[in-house]
Amino acid sequence: MNLIGFENYLWLGSALFCIGLLGVLVRRNVIILLMCIELMLNASNLLLVVFAKMFGNMNGHIFVFFSMLVAAAEVSVGLALIVLIYRKFRTIDSSFLDKLKG
């Protein structure tokens, strides 16, 4: 019996993605929201690596590489924005940040 069949990895990736989605829906702290987005990105990264091995093709690794680059850029700009928001409003609760609604 070999447990590292690919479907187990698909289960793991889906579960990880759903946990990240749950965090985005439930939490209010904007930093936690960013971390949950990181969880979802990592779930997709894991699945890309799994599919790369499944088809014996290394293009999936390249896409994981690019997704990590984009995640790094996103986190740096997002955290700068969060620091600015905290300085201005003294809160990072997403339910209070509704100025754009007008």
């Binding site: 447990l3 793991l12 889906s14 936690i32 990264n45 799994v50 091995k53």
Partner: protein, 180 residues
């Protein structure tokens, strides 16, 4: 029971439990710590999946750089654990229903197609041919990155410059307005 199976089960358990703790922990610092643990267990998965280079840059970029950014920002804000109000109970139930329904529908599709999914030894790919000996090493990855994907690679550098300029601009704007 194979050693890789034990490693897979252990890494999966650590990944899922730590990911849940990221969502459930009250203190944001604990969330970051559990996210780092999740990254490390995912790195273990990458090693199991013959993606050595991805495993290394996962540690360096995620656990090394991004998590340090998160920790720094959290320390700058000096937040208490209990200043986050709860969302309404109805909203939580709704979110739980949505995510668990989504997960269950995905799992149902997998279970339905379980017989078709190949379960193969770790050295082979699903399509039957053996993996090349240098699968996941830096050299073939670099070859691929600098021949076939050289244009997205250069575009990524522009993205990084834009992100860096944006972060520096956003971080320094407050000080310049104070000086005026």
């Amino acid at each position: 029971m194979d050693l890789t199976n034990i490693a897979f089960i252990a890494f999966s358990a650590i990944t899922l439990i730590c990911a849940l703790m990221v969502v459930l922990a009250r203190n944001p610092i604990y969330s970051v710590i559990f996210l780092i643990l999740t990254m490390f267990s995912l790195t273990g998965h990458y090693v199991l999946l013959h993606a050595q280079f991805i495993a290394i840059i996962n540690i360096i970029v995620y656990a090394g750089a991004i998590m340090v950014l998160f920790l720094f920002v959290l320390m700058l804000m000096n937040m208490n654990a209990n200043n986050e109000p709860n969302k309404s109970f109805l909203w939580k139930v709704l979110a739980g229903l949505v995510t668990s329904g989504m997960l269950m529908s995905i799992l149902l599709v997998y279970i339905k197609n379980m017989g078709d999914m190949p379960i193969v030894p770790t050295t082979n790919s699903a399509v039957g041919q053996a993996l090349p000996a240098d699968f996941g090493y830096i050299k073939p990855l670099g070859n691929l990155l600098f021949t076939e994907y050289v244009f997205p690679f250069e575009i990524a550098s522009i993205l990084f410059i834009a992100a860096m300029v944006g972060a520096v601009f956003l971080g320094s704007r407050e000080k310049s307005t104070n000086n005026q």
